[in-house]
């Protein structure tokens, strides 16, 4: 596709041609030939250059709302002899498929410029996408363009494969004191949930096995029993925290979003403190709990929060769920 400069160039070429014919000026004929040759060579160079370019996009996950998304691109020049110059990589737009309240802060399209790729080699570059809204996100088509070598024609290759992303709610840091106040000290659960492990708490005694460390030998009990006994320790019992998220339909949309973000923040803070976290969203009849402590397991709860569609019909009222352990309830102040 000709650029604006290209259209001017083509007009000037026609002008030179007409001038040469009118004046029968042979040097103008030669100049006209050079102008035409430039168009041909431009097409050939840019065409062969672009045909050898392959792009692969990888996105750093997980993705959180209100934070930049870094897209990494591996651009490979498969031409054996022809280098690639002045390649522009363009991300055209993002499309949110769930309800999005925030809009991207930077305007699309976004570009990355690659001055030079040697023949038969590859390099990487990245584009920081603007802060996406919470929910499901589609990254649309990607294209590479170049006006090299003369800026007359823009050659472009568009990759139409869309990529789906789940954007988790934004996470805000929560002060340790505030967390402690909200969650309480937390405590271990009942004895029946104890199991042997690597904790410090005593679990049971068993007979000494060949590979046991002498440090583990319960000397007094062994003396009493007349045989070598080894101490077994109980597994450390994780502390649990239930986050109750109240999403009353009467509340404002932004307020609900803020609560979702708070819930996500508490979940991640608790997970970072090795809590086992449970999530209760009564208005959506959602209830989930991590099977293991840690942030990786808590990611599943954040995914649930990411998928909450506030535009859906909500239950007008919902009872506050009963919890056995410490819990944090995120609701309106008069709730």
């Amino acid at each position: 596709m000709p650029t604006r400069v290209g259209i001017v160039y083509l007009s000037v070429t026609v002008f030179i041609g007409v001038g040469a014919v009118n004046a029968q000026n042979n040097l103008l004929f030669f100049l006209f030939g050079i102008s035409l040759a430039a168009i041909l060579i431009s097409g050939f160079i840019s065409g062969s250059m672009m045909m050898g370019i392959k792009v692969q996009r990888t996105i750093q996950t997980p993705v959180y709302a209100k934070s930049t998304v870094v897209c990494n691109y591996t651009i490979k020049n498969t031409n054996r002899f022809i280098p690639a110059f002045a390649i522009t990589l363009t991300e055209h737009k993002l499309a949110a498929t769930t309800n999005a309240t925030s809009k991207p802060t930077r305007r699309f399209p976004l570009h990355a410029f690659i001055p030079y790729i040697p023949p038969d080699s590859e390099l990487t570059t990245k584009i920081k996408l603007p802060s996406p809204p919470r929910g499901e996100l589609t990254i649309d088509k990607l294209s590479i363009t170049s006006t090299f070598p003369f800026g007359i024609v823009t050659k472009a290759i568009t990759y139409t494969n869309q990529e789906q992303l789940l954007v988790r709610p934004a996470i805000h840091p929560i002060a340790p004191k505030a967390f402690s106040n909200a969650a309480g000290a937390g405590r271990s659960t009942t004895e029946d949930r104890r199991r042997k492990g690597q904790g410090l708490e005593f679990y049971a005694l068993r007979e000494f096995a060949h590979a046991d460390s002498p440090k583990q030998v319960a000397w007094k009990a062994s003396a009493r029993a007349g045989t070598l006994l080894t101490k077994q320790h109980a597994s450390p019992t994780p502390k649990t925290l239930t986050v109750i998220l109240m999403l009353e339909p009467a509340a404002e949309h932004s307020e609900l979003e803020r609560r979702i973000e708070s819930a996500a923040s508490y979940i991640m803070t608790a997970a970072a403190k090795n809590y086992q976290v449970a999530l209760e969203v009564p208005h959506f009849a959602l209830s989930s709990k991590t099977t293991n402590p840690g942030t990786r397991a808590a990611g599943a709860l954040l995914d649930i929060l990411a998928l909450i569609d506030l535009s859906a019909q909500l239950a007008a009222t919902a009872p506050l769920p009963r919890t056995t352990g410490p819990s944090i309830t995120l609701a309106s102040s008069n709730a």
């Binding site: 042979n26 050079i34 035409l36 040697p118």
Partner: protein, 740 residues
Amino acid sequence: MKLYTTYNTVITLTVLVGVLAFALAARSISTALIALPVVISAFLLFRKSLVTPLPRWTLNILLLASLLSLIRGFTGELSEVVPVVGQYIAYLQFIKLLESRTPRDQGQLIALSLILTIGSVLTSVTLDMGIMLIIYVPIVFTAIVLYQVLSGIYKESSARLNTTDTNLIAPVLLNEYLPAQATRSTRRLVATSTLAMLVIAGGVFVLIPRSVGEGFLGSLPQPRSRAVTGFNESIRLGSTTNINESQATVLEVKVIADINNPIVITPPDSRFLLRGSVLDYYDKKSKTWTRATSHTSDTITIGTGTFSEPPDTPAQPTRTRFSINIPITTGRNIFLPWWTVQLDIKDNHAFDFTRRTGTASLKQKKRSLNYTATAFIDQAGAFRVPQNFESTYLNAQSNQPNPFLDTRIQDLAQSIAPNLIAERDPALDTHPNDRRIAQAFVSYLEQTCRYTLAPPIVPADRDPIVYFLFTGREGHCEYFASALAALCRSVGIHARVVAGYVATEYDDQANAYIVRERHAHAWTDVRIGEGIWLELDPSPSESLASLHKPAPTVLSKLRDFIEAIDMFWIDSVVAFDDQRQADIFTQRSEDQWIDAVTEALETGSTEDAGEGASRIAAIAQAIAIALALLSFFILIRLVIKRVRTNQSQLPALASLPEYSTALSLLKEAGFEKPATTPPLIHADDIQQAAPTSAIHFRQIAIHNYSASLDPMHMPQPMQHHLDCLKDALQKERFQNDSRS
């Protein structure tokens, strides 16, 4: 390669070459003189900066000044439009060159440079312009390529930093490097693309139909083609630049001495005067001979291309035929012998014929011209022109003051032929003695004045003819002809100066006279009877041919060479027309061309192969030479690369004397390190055969690497390892020998 530094150099070169090409085309020395300091200053100013140090108002004033120069330069003449606009564009480029280096300004700068080049081509099509164009193409190509990369980086930086302030973006651009591989790639790309562009442009040049649509938008001023004739429509005496010493061919003249008897061969020492313009008015103030325009009734227009009029001659002279070819016409003049009775112009071009002077000119200028002139050649050289055109001329002459009624000239004329002049009646237009008087003047001039192409400078307040006759006594043909005309007119004999060419150089191979620019000549017509004009050449005839030829010097040989290229350029490019185009495709079949070229190359002679084949052979030879030079260049590059590679590998590893000694010891012990094997790999290789030696050699090699690659490395004593290596090698070699 530092990208911006390279771009700065290339864009400076682009502007410089473009402006110099324009200055050359428009013969504008002032533009060239302004260009050099401005371009060099801009180069130095922007070498490490993208931001202009000049305040905006300065640039605005410069813009205004250039606009004023544009307005002032317009004279309303169409021929001046392109040079004046070109000058303005050149000034705009200078201003743009001094502005901050934003992509927009740089794009405009390149566009202006390209437009200026088009203007240059519209102004001139000379060889120097062609050479400038061929130099310009790769430079501007490189500039555009670098501009593409640089503007991309600029825009990306602008978006990333969220600013359009060049001050903030400049550090990014100034520190942008392209790897060495990119530099090589760019060079290769530019070289191959330029070559391809020239080849394609050559193809387009040859294939585009000529003489189709000529002038359909109206006639535009023709560009300067360098094929200027040495002769002029007027003669200005006292000027030092009248004589053109160029070897460029102006006319090719084939002569049949007597058309009634074609066996008669023209003697080899024959010379023919071919008149282009007859100048009968001398302006003492401007010291110029010009054509009188007051009486044009003796001029007839011939629309059929053929004119025939038997003259009223006293005797039956020899009828001689001149077949004349003007390869490139620069004016409308048709050069004719005195006195032409029949003129046939090829393609029936219309022309004007002035019977009184025997001169003709085309109604419309043509690219080239072929014509045949049949003339009566008489030893006496005098012919009676039709009477009815004389009266107008004589009346006009009598109404004008005689500029040669100078007492000194009259006294001199009286002293040359006192008796003959005394017998002459001044009241009459002619006298039987007039021929003898004129010939006496010619003899006098031949004896007293010296012919030279470098006449002395005539003081501004002196009349050049008087100065020539009485003081300088040196001059070229124009002075001789003017002096003769002045002497004749001073005593009342009508005389006029004729400008044209003298054909003296006979080419045996072409069987034709080759008339070059340096053969431009001037002589005199003297009226010796009622309507009878005698053609007299007062310049020394015996050495005229040699005097017209410049002295052979080293520079003249160089000039001959350049002029040969110039002629090739004019012949192959400037004068390339539909006829030549048709010749390429229709004259010979491909096989015939190949045969002719092969034959020409094998025999080394192109005589039998014809003109076209000889040209092709010359091109083939040129291509062969170019290929040989290219191969030589590539070979040199390879050798240099090899040497550089070796240099870059060896000194680093042989930098420590201990390492060199260790290598020698290993070699002596039979463990010589192959040149291509890294030292640590070699240590591994000899590990099994000489384990202790390998340990010590490895230490020395590591130390050598460190010393070579790390400039902060502190030297360590290696003598211990070297001694150990020596001992270990002795022992281990002994062990190996005893084992074997």
